[in-house]
């Protein structure tokens, strides 16, 4: 009697990996909270626009997150350095977070990121359209030159010319 072919072992579900990553993230966060709570509080509130971008951007590439996050961090980092260089307390962190000017800089930088994210694609689109039009014009010029040298027959398909 022939043996039944062995069925391949089912691959580990991707949910298992995800939950593992979640555990590690939670552990790291707890660790960081214990070691550096003022920094965590400051970064959390300072980087709120990035968190919003992460929630709003449903694409897999998350370009909006990188765009907003990059500039948002540029706005947050000077205060973060001050925090690390000065008193590293929750009070100092809260002082910066309650300062309108510092908030304006951090969130303004994030807003600038959003602006870049909205403004650049149409510019690139227009650029690509111009390039395509230039290519079409070049091809039309080549075709015109071919017709000038070989006549209208060059435009007929081989089936037409046989017929």
């Amino acid at each position: 009697m022939a043996r039944k072919p062995k069925t391949p072992e089912p691959a580990a579900p991707s949910g298992k990996k995800a939950s593992l990553a979640l555990v590690w993230t939670a552990l790291t966060l707890v660790g960081v909270l214990i070691i550096s709570l003022p920094t965590v509080i400051f970064v959390f509130f300072g980087m709120l626009p990035t968190l919003v971008a992460f929630i709003v951007d449903r694409t897999s590439q998350k370009y909006a997150v990188f765009c907003v996050g990059g500039l948002n961090f540029s706005g947050v980092f000077p205060y973060l350095l001050d925090l690390w260089a000065g008193e590293h307390t929750i009070g100092s962190a809260m002082e910066v977070l309650t300062d309108v000017f510092s908030l304006l800089l951090m969130y303004g930088a994030a807003g600038f990121g959003w602006m870049i994210f909205i403004a650049i694609p149409p510019v690139v689109g227009a650029f690509l359209t111009v390039m395509a039009q230039r290519r079409v014009s070049q091809l039309r010029r080549d075709q015109k030159e071919l017709i000038e040298e070989w006549g209208e027959d060059v435009a007929a398909s081989e089936d037409d010319s046989v017929g």
Binding site: C67, L71, R135, V136, L139, E149
Partner: protein
Amino acid sequence: MPVSLIEPLRGMLSDDPNERWGLEDLEQWLGGQRRTPIPRKASPSALGALEFVGVPYMTSRTLAHGFAQNIPEAVNVIKEGRLDDWLRRQLSDAKCADAVADAIKVAKVNATGPLGSDDYLVSKICIILDPAGPIRYKEISFMPDGFGSAMAVEMLRRGEAQSPAEAVLRGLPGVWLAAQADVKSTASKLESTFAEVRAYLMSSEIGYGIERCLYELNPGLPCQSAHLVHDYVTHIRDLLPALDEVASRVSEKALPIDRHIAAFIAARSDQDVGSYLAALGESDIKVSTIGMLSLVALLQWRLETGALFGLTRWVGGQLGPAISSYHSRSTRRHLEREIPRLIRQGNLPELYNFIDDKDKRQTDTDEFGVAREQFTEAEAEIDEIEGSDSSRAESAELVGQKTAAMSSVVIAMVVVSILFLMQSW
């Protein structure tokens, strides 16, 4: 009529070519030598006459002659059965009457075709009534061995020879040969000649048809082309010089080779010119022009005729379609520039080699193929670009977002680096 003249007249007018007197027989008679008199062979005479268009006919031979003169009346006599009655009752020739009845039956079967026509029926019955007589069809009558001459006479008198051609196409020579009581030695030769003539007549291509038969069957007949009819060109060697002279007095648009000249060349040339005629007869004017040039160039080369300035100019003026058979405009311009120089040399083979150069044509065809491919590829690319507006917009947005993200990250890195450095110092 003097009795002494009866003998030479009977000898010279004998229906049988084997008995008919020639010049030698006549000289012998003039020299006083007595010859065996030719017995008088009278056709069988009927008991009573057949009245046909007011003339009483007593023999089948004379009746055949009468029928050929008045075909519509002859058809009435045949179809009313009067001929059958007369043949059976008055002439007592049941065999002839049966043959006539068979001919009528065949005509009835083929009523809608050419073999059912009155002309054909009367002609066939005339052969049955008078097998030794000529083939009588419509307004002409001819002995099969004199068909060529009959055709030439028709052509010279009327300018066309439709009736002799029809007679051959409808197989009347075969009917005549089948009606002969004794098979003659010339019968097979005649059969093969008429088979050849029929093949020529069945083709309407230039170089064949009635004109070809005319020159094949009449070796001494001059070319009857409208260009050359007054030049009396009987030999192919005289053809090109005659055309060279004609060139100065004809319109430049007139074609140098017409149906008569093509048939004359085909019949008189010792070389097979079938492929040249096929090219000449092509419906595509580019091919036919090159065919015309190749034929006259072949003749000049083979016959070693000297320079033909007039004919070369005439032919050269008609090479427009041959030039336009090249696809490349620059090649065409080159040919147009060079042709006048070759025309001045009066050399048709050189002109032909220049126009129909194999390498040049191959290069033209190959490069045209490449150009066509390039055109098609360009067209496909244009279609792709123009047809992908929405997908291009999508990809542009994606690229834009990616660029924005990259820019943002780079700015962040620069800012962080600068601040870090400032803090360190």
